[in-house]
Each structure stands twice: as C-alpha cells, then as structure tokens.
C-alpha cells in the first residue's frame, strides 16, 4: 500500500513529502523517514516503477570517479599540475598521467605541456570526495583544448545538454558548425569557425540550462537554432 503525493516531472523543494507507504523506494535525492519518502533537495520528480528519485535542478559540481571534466591549469609544481575543475579543491594532474608520452621533467619544462591558464579535458581517476582529486589525460579524446571559449552551466543539466544518445548536442553542433565538448563538471568548450556561430551555440546551451524543465525542449532549441542560424 502506498500513495504518491506528487506527479512525475513535478518540481519539489527540500522537505516535501513525495510518497507515503512502504511500497515506494527512495533513490537519489530522496530519503525515507518512517513511512514517508521525502525530498532532500530542489529537484524534478522522476518515478520509475517503485523507485522515486529526483533530478537535481541546481547545486555545485561534486567530483566522482570516472567523470570526464574540463579543467583550467592554475598551478604548476615539480611533479605535475594543479587544475581547477569547479570544485572546492583543486585537482592533481601528475606527470605520469598527463600524457600518453613519457614526460621527463629533467629534460622538458612542464609548461611545454600545459601552461598556466591552459584548458584541458581529463577524467577523474580517483577522489576522496573532498580534498584529493586525481586526474588523468591518458585516454581517447583527452587533450589540451586550444582556442574557442569556455562557458559554465549547472552541472546537473549536463545530461539535458547532451541529450538522449547525444541527440541534443549533435543538433547544436551541426546547426552552428561548432566543435563542442561537455564536461560532467558543467564546463562546456565551444569552438567554431565564426564567433557569431559560437555565440549562438552559447545561447542555445544556456537556454537549455535555464529552461530544462520545459516540455518539448528539443523542439524549442531546434526552432531557436533555425531562427538564429538563417
């Protein structure tokens, strides 16, 4: 026995009662208290059979192992680089993980690889969830990103920007003729031949960030791109 107190895709706030009864199971963003399932953050309700979870609508990025992130080099040490990945603490990129080549720090300067302010695509190899985050750039597609621009969006909206099987991001790439890479940390790299097209891609992605709760978002963005890219 159980009763759902909210609908699928409804916006809920922390402390709101989502369901009553032992039938339902709490998942991401919810918790059980006695016989109630309660929201623990601002989110969009997602009911999947008996599982109730929330899709977060806001909140900073928290690093997880396996995340692909776009980072900025903020410091260079003897054994590697310190990288800002939009978390409270900087991540570490060690010499061994920085490239598929072997880097001999006695012969080359670290800045030859990545310099202050450089933007890189990396993945999180290990993290304690707070102060220690280790990155690696050994893998397909992981590299320094040259040119273009970086914009920042709400990390929880990244799946919407990418779309089912990449459908949304592919549509934006095709219509604006831009290369686009999306990091799980809510950083997006956009590089196009024309700055005007980069600006349109930027606006489209920000629109998805702001209007992510709308129905038919794919069509809205499609229309927007068609209008702007005439």
């Amino acid at each position: 026995m159980g009763e759902l107190k909210v609908q699928d895709k409804e916006i809920v706030i922390p402390g709101e009662v989502l369901a009553v009864g032992m039938d339902f199971l709490p998942a991401n963003g919810t918790f059980r208290e006695e016989d109630k399932i309660i929201a623990s953050e601002m989110g969009l309700v997602n009911v999947n059979g008996r599982l109730i979870k929330l899709i977060p609508l806001t909140g900073r990025y928290v690093p997880k192992k396996g995340d692909t992130v776009i980072g900025k080099v903020v410091d260079i040490g003897l054994n590697g680089w310190r990288v800002d990945i939009r978390w409270a603490y900087e991540a570490n990129l060690g010499l061994k993980e920085a490239s598929s080549d072997f880097i001999d720090s006695r012969r080359t300067s670290l800045t030859d690889y990545y310099d202050y302010g450089d933007v890189i695509m990396a993945y999180v190899v290990f993290t304690t969830g707070s102060k220690i985050i280790d990155l690696s750039m050994r893998g397909p597609g992981l590299r320094k990103l040259i040119g273009g621009r970086i914009i920042e969006i709400t990390p929880s909206k990244v799946p919407r920007v990418i779309g089912k099987q990449g459908s949304m991001i592919t549509m934006i790439k095709e219509k604006t003729d831009c290369k686009i890479l999306v990091g799980q940390n809510g950083r997006v790299w956009i590089s196009g031949a024309e700055p005007k097209k980069e600006i349109i891609a930027t606006k489209a992605i920000r629109k998805i960030d702001e209007e992510s709760t709308a129905d038919g978002l794919t069509d809205v963005i499609k229309e927007f791109l068609e209008k702007e890219c005439k």
């Binding site: 916006i11 706030i13 922390p14 402390g15 709101e16 009662v17 918790f31 208290e33 309660i38 623990s40 953050e41 601002m42 977060p56 609508l57 806001t58 909140g59 900073r60 928290v62 409270a88 603490y89 304690t128 969830g129 707070s130 102060k131 929880s156 702001e210 209007e211 992510s212 709760t213 709308a214």
Partner: protein
C-alpha cells in the same frame, strides 16, 4: 492587564505583509529576498567552497558559516557603523544554529557553505527575516536539506500572545519578545530566544502561535522556490 488592539489594526496572530523571491543575486550559488512589513533581508549562499583557514575544516562534513550584517543606512535612527558588532555576531551564530539541523552536509567534507545575510531596511524581526531568507537561499543553492526552516518573532503583551511584533510592540511595557525558528515538516524548534518574564503555559501557547505562523511563512517560501524553477 489587558491588551486591546494592535496599532496597525492586525489581528493578534496576523503577520505583516510578506514577500519572497528566490534567485536575486546571479553570481551566487543560491540567493533569496524575504520582506516582512518593512524589514527587507537578502540571503546569499556560496558553497561548497574551500574553507580558510584550514584548521576550521571538518573532515567528516561541510561546515556552515553564517554572517549577518546590516547595511549602514538600514536602521531607523542614526547610521549603523559598518563592520561586525556584538549583536551582529550573536545573530550570525543563532542563524547558523537555526539552520544546521535542516542540512545534510555529509557530502561536502572539508568545505564551507557560506551564508551572507544583509539587511537593506529594518523594522523589527530582522534575525527572523534573515533566517527565513537563508533557508530559501540554501535550497536554491542545491544544498541537501531534510526540511525547510522558517522563522518568526512572537510575544506577550499584557494578556495577549501576538505574532510578528513591531518595534513599538517590542518596546511595550513588560512585553516579552520571543524569537523562534521551526523545522516545518518535523514541527520542531531550532531557534528560541526570549526576553522578559513569562509563565510556562504562556510560553507553550506562544510557541504554538509561532509554529502556525512559520507554517504560513513556509507557504511563501515554497511558492518562491518553485516560481524560480518553473519555465515561463
């Protein structure tokens, strides 16, 4: 002694006109404005972010750090000298204590969640307005919360329990001023400060009035939060 009428014509348990808005400071992680009567409070959240100095970090969970400040022109008499005062430091502390029980900071080890409360205009009930705004700002920032928090000041004047005291009512002869904050869903008290002499029965009665008032304030908080995230 009997207390007859409130000078602004409100019923004894009636609150002043209120307004709530979420997302008022773009660069912040979360923000909200709460106005009750002429008291206007802004609350802004930045975090989780790095905690300086390092010795204040907690390896088990994030730390909540609140800072309450009145803008120099927000007081009704002379200018308020900028900078922390003993009063503002005390209010910062109780704000933190009023909000902590609602938060789950276990995912944010070694970091700080900074909450800044700024008063633009003051007309009694400032710490309560600050807490109410801060709770919305924390939700807006995506900080995991088990419950929402709302805050109100109630009091006893003569033989009556009044909700949301004005400055004039606070200064009434032998008035008792009680600042409260409640976890809305659980119905529990997270802030309780009292000035004056009161019988226990009256205090319990006052807390019941405060709880109802906080539930009313919470309706505005819910509306303001959902408003921001609805797509036009």
């Amino acid at each position: 002694m009997a207390f007859a009428k409130r000078s602004d014509g409100r019923k004894f348990d009636e609150l002043r006109e209120m307004e709530a808005k979420v997302g008022v400071v773009k660069r912040a992680d979360g923000s909200a404005m709460f106005r009750i009567g002429k008291t206007i409070a802004y609350a802004v959240v930045y975090g989780p972010r790095q905690m300086y100095p390092a010795f204040l970090q907690d390896p088990e969970k994030g730390v909540l750090r609140c800072n309450y400040n009145m803008m120099a022109f927000s007081g009704s008499g002379e200018r308020v000298r900028p900078g922390p005062s003993r009063r503002s430091r005390e209010i910062s502390l109780v704000t933190e204590k009023a909000l902590m029980p609602a938060l789950d900071l276990s995912n944010y080890k070694n970091t700080v969640i900074d909450v800044f409360v700024e008063l633009i205009q003051t007309d009694s009930g400032t710490r309560c307005a600050g807490i109410t705004a801060a709770a919305m700002a924390l939700a807006d920032a995506g900080i995991p919360m088990k419950d929402m928090v709302a805050s109100i000041a109630v009091g006893k004047l003569g033989d009556k329990i009044l909700a949301d005291l004005t400055k004039e009512e606070e200064d009434y002869e032998n008035a008792v001023d009680i600042a409260t904050a409640f976890l809305i869903r659980e119905g529990k008290v997270t802030l309780l400060q009292m000035d004056g002499e009161l019988k226990k029965e009256d205090l319990i009665e006052a807390l019941k009035v405060a709880k109802k008032a906080c539930e009313q304030i919470n309706k505005l908080q819910v509306k303001a939060l959902k408003e921001k995230y609805k797509t036009k």
